[in-house]
């Protein structure tokens, strides 16, 4: 039975590992996209513009309130239409096809971004206002304050929350398998169907996901230690 998991011609080990690599690639890209969305969302929520506040509120409420699967279906079935419409607006007539990877990254990234928005917003708020006043009093401009005072500390405060978001994002990539992208879940599904050994293969997938989440827990703990090395503990 273990032969099925091996790397030989009869084994599915290679496919599972390629799938795992694809899962990591989707998760990392989606997480990065999510952080960009989250930073934009957080700055919109913290801005004094009512329109931006409302837009960011709608984004986080809607995306966090509806099932992830529905968001993925929306982009899977509707994404190509939107991109084609934008392309034709710029004078390109032909059909634009988004590949499954892009759709997966954008869908999971949008979800990840909604959670990151709240994490980053909270982190920005926990930078003491006195420090910003002090920086202003020293004559720093807006961008310099952002770069030297706000962002470094926000990153430290946001790290634990972003760790949670990363775990969510990693697990959400399993849902991308409905778009037939060959990530771990999809590879497992194919292997289980072809060999009629679903229990074996889904257990193997569970072990691989567990390995990914465990390794990321360790990495985030390390990152937190590094980020907090200059902080005195009570």
């Amino acid at each position: 039975m273990l032969e099925l998991l091996s790397f030989g011609p009869n084994g599915w080990g290679g496919q599972l590992l390629t799938g795992t690599a694809m899962t990591v690639a989707v998760a990392v890209s989606a997480f990065a996209f999510g952080i960009v969305m989250g930073s934009l969302g957080a700055s919109a929520k913290l801005s004094h513009s009512l329109i931006l506040n409302a837009l960011a509120d709608v984004y986080t409420t809607v995306v966090r309130g509806i099932p992830e699967l529905l968001v993925i279906y929306l982009l899977f079935f509707g994404g190509n239409g939107v991109v084609s419409a934008i392309a034709s607006a710029f004078g390109y007539d032909g059909r634009v096809e988004l590949n499954a990877f892009t759709i997966g990254v954008v869908a999971v990234g949008l979800i990840s971004g909604a959670y990151s928005t709240e994490v980053i917003r909270g982190a920005v708020r926990s930078v003491p206002f006195g420090q910003i006043e002090a920086a202003r009093a020293c004559g720093m401009g807006r961008w310099l304050i952002l770069r030297r005072v706000l962002v470094p500390q926000t990153m430290r405060f946001a790290l634990p929350g972003l760790g949670n978001v990363w775990q969510l994002t990693l697990k959400d990539t399993a849902l991308v398998s409905v778009t037939a992208l060959a990530e771990l879940m999809r590879a497992t599904h194919l292997a289980a169907g072809a060999t009629r050994e679903p229990f074996l293969f889904y257990s193997a997938a569970a072990v691989l996901y567990l390995a990914l989440t465990t390794v990321s827990t360790i990495l985030f703990d390390r990152a937190e230690q590094t980020a907090n090395r200059g902080v005195r503990r009570a």
Binding site: P67, L70, Y73, L74, T173, A192, F199
Partner: protein
């Protein structure tokens, strides 16, 4: 935007609401029982028992729900002894497989929430109860559990919302709840955005109601905070 189509799709989508609510209600009720048992086991003081309960929580929190659903629905049916057992009429049904997977999943998360809440009950209150002559069991029932349940409500509210969303994964094992119906109708009509909006709105309303119910429960259980205001 095709308003007529949106309006016409509403009755069909709402037809899936019953199944969605059954999935949510069933898994939350059973999940609460599992969570209670697992939280007690994790605080039992017996090393092997604590380790086993901890392993259960670790596995179900560390893997995607989709893997858990497929493992139960496709995986268990592969074994002869499962098909011959008295449990087969239950495990054969996708509905029960979905409820089982959701139950085990929410049970793992909720047990952690409950465990944290039990640990947060001040030691002084337990000592006072013991000093009044309550047995450990009585003190747990009368003092620790009520305080812990009240304490855990905000975090449990998040878990309820996660379950509302997680119930959509049942559509991957042929169950026609709201997401399953939405998916099928999108494939038939290609009206992606219209149907997405209708289905999304139903979930948003469900989540809104769920979070209001939790808020109400919190309000009911904290009369001492109201009286002071």
């Amino acid at each position: 935007m095709n308003w007529q189509l949106m309006w016409d799709s509403l009755p069909r989508m709402l037809g899936g609401m019953g199944l969605t609510l059954q999935l949510i209600g069933g898994s939350l009720a059973l999940g609460a029982v599992v969570a209670f048992a697992v939280a007690l086991l994790r605080l039992s003081g017996n090393r092997p028992v604590e380790w086993i309960a901890g392993a259960y929580v670790f596995v179900f929190r560390g893997t995607p729900l989709l893997v858990q659903i497929f493992l139960i629905y496709y995986g268990l049916g592969q074994f002869e002894f499962v098909r011959d057992s008295i449990l087969w009429p239950v495990l054969r049904e996708p509905m029960w497989c979905a409820i089982l997977a959701l139950t085990l999943n929410t049970g793992a998360y909720t047990s952690e929430v409950l465990r944290g809440a039990i640990l947060s009950v001040p030691q002084g209150q337990i000592e006072a109860a013991r000093a009044c002559g309550m047995s450990r069991a009585l003190a747990f029932r009368r003092i620790v559990l009520p305080v812990a349940v009240r304490q855990m409500l905000p975090a449990y509210g998040n878990e309820v919302i996660l379950m509302v969303k997680a119930s959509s994964l049942a559509s991957t094992i042929t169950l026609m709840e709201i997401t399953g119906i939405a998916r099928r109708m999108i494939a038939q009509t290609f009206a992606v955005f219209e149907l997405f909006i209708v289905a999304g709105a139903i979930y948003l309303i469900l989540n809104f109601v769920a979070s209001r119910l939790i808020k109400y429960a919190e309000w009911r259980l904290t009369p001492y905070l109201r009286a002071r205001a």
